[in-house]
């Protein structure tokens, strides 16, 4: 396991250069210790895939990165902005896009309005600019023709691609994906993964919680295995899949690669 503590000295520099810098992070839900002493560094343009059993804290970890959850202990610097308490929150969220398992599109707005909303109200773009940008990204996720429909009129795969376009419209530097395909029927998974691969090849910094191992093999620079709130294993995919160090990882991989 690569120990992030070995390069201890240039921590400040790493914080500035890297996309995400997380040191000794701890988080509790009441008495329940969800995240235990998590340290993780992500360079710009790096792609990271996180996997692990249900309840291991994967969602909580990536929700900390854009401040949807607050950590109680430790240091977290995202895109050069330190996140402590509620300071830096709005700044970080403007630079970090997030895609959820359940899409979370705004049902009372059309696809185009969903995408143009944040650029207008958060980035202060004009409506025309924002809509032009929205159409550009809808094109990129290959559904420009659905722009005037409402989310409920789209299939799950289309909705998730809209959600990706909506996040991209803020032109974020980092994208977080929390199991983006696990609520989808098998035939729709590919269309979403294709978009994500496309994004990865474009050089986006990406943190994905996903159990799509084919996708992980293809784009990940680094695999992370979490269990019970700790990062148990951290390795490049070649090593991660062929010779995992921990018995727990091996067991997990055999289970999910089996079906």
């Amino acid at each position: 396991m690569a120990d992030p503590d070995t390069n201890n000295k240039p921590a400040k520099n790493a914080a500035r250069d890297g996309a995400i810098h997380m040191r000794h992070l701890d988080k509790w839900f009441g008495a329940f210790h969800v995240l235990k002493d998590i340290s993780l560094s992500v360079r710009k343009g790096e792609k990271i895939v996180i996997c692990g059993p249900s309840g291991s804290g994967k969602s909580t970890l990536i929700r900390c990165i854009n401040g949807l959850e607050t950590h109680e202990k430790g240091e977290l610097v995202v895109d050069g902005i330190p996140l402590t308490g509620s300071a830096g929150l709005d700044e970080v969220r403007r630079e970090v896009g997030m895609v959820f398992q359940s899409f979370n599109l705004f049902p009372h707005m059309t696809v185009l309005q969903n995408c143009a909303l944040a650029p207008i109200w958060v980035r202060r773009k004009t409506r025309a600019e924002a809509e032009a940008r929205a159409l550009r990204y809808l094109e990129r996720v290959r559904i420009p023709d659905q722009a005037h429909k409402y989310p409920e009129q789209l299939s799950g795969g289309q909705q998730q691609r809209v959600a990706i376009a909506r996040a991209l419209c803020m032109e974020p530097r980092i994208m977080l994906f929390d199991e983006p395909t696990s609520a989808l029927d098998p035939e729709m998974i590919k269309e979403v993964l294709d978009v994500m691969v496309d994004l990865a090849e474009g050089g986006m910094t990406m943190i994905c919680v996903s159990h799509e191992m084919g996708f992980a093999r293809r784009v990940a620079d680094k695999m992370i295995f979490m269990d019970e709130g700790v990062i148990l294993e951290e390795a490049p995919p070649s090593q991660f899949f062929s010779k995992p160090k921990h018995e727990r990882t091996r067991l997990f991989l055999s289970q999910i690669l089996h079906d």
Partner: protein, 374 residues
Amino acid sequence: MTNLSDAKILRRDRQTSILAYGWHWARIHLFSSWMNAALTLSAIALLWLTIPALIDWLIISASWTGESREACLNENQGACWPFIFEKWEQFIYGRYPQEEIWRVNLVFLLAFGGALPMLIPAVPWKGWNALFLVVIFPILCLYLLSGGVMGLPYVESSRWGGLLVTLLIAGVGNAAALPLGILLALGRRSEMRILRTLCVLFIEFWRGIPLITVLFMASVMLPLFFAEGASFDKLLRCLIGVALFSSAYMAEVVRGGLQAIPQGQHDAARALGMGYWRMTILIILPQALKIVIPGIVNSFIALFKDTTLVLIVGLFDLLGIIQLHLADPNWSTPQTHYTGYAFAALLFWLFCFGMSRYSQYMERRLGTEPSHNG
């Protein structure tokens, strides 16, 4: 010849088929089971007993013309409409001076002209329309009704009455209760502990006391706290009391809607960098309010009918003023009371039914076609 008889046969066929269809329909909808048949028959019996009697009393046996009680003292035993015809001006305007009534009419007209385009979704310029209703109309309304400046003679509020007062209290009460209720509901769900506690206290306080008590407090007790002469208008005090009272109910209705919005909507809005107010106004409230339209309209209707309680603090709303005139010896007939109350019921029902139908229309519309906020 043959052609003609053919046509006849055809027509008879069609008639029998319509009859057959009617019978078929009735079998399915009205007599599908013994239970259903029994219900159908008792409903028919009930209608048979009430409707003809009602029509007879309201129209056929009713007295329609006359100047005084003599008109209604005949043996017909029907409604005494001349009583309404003679008094309707008081019923609508209270004791508002005769020569100033045009001011009230103008207010009604402005309210109607301002509200109607707002209520019809297809009419554009909703922003300007709302500005008129929220800012310009209340000022105009106050100026026109009260007067006292710029050439309009002063009409003190104790002379306002009837439908004018009913609509005024219900209108102002509801118009103030909705935004106040929304703020209270948001406050009650706030993460700030003090704000949350204050909102809970406020809501529970107003929900815990009857409206009658609120009105008594506003009209009788409040002036005791003010220095002599510093006390302000009784109608205004009641308006404030009613608005605060119904805002507490509105808050709970709106809170129900807020709770129905999934956490994911908050997460998505936050993740896009929206602050609390942007998230609330653009994402949460449009969805939450849509869900609770029936509850909101229910509150509107309840308040509209509750305005009748202002009678006990000496304000004369529609029902109050009708009751006042029932005591007129000039019109004391056996039918006057029934007629007066029937008229009050009819007016109240018309307004409430209108609100109810409008809410059904809005629900249907929003249900099939999500609103366009963006």
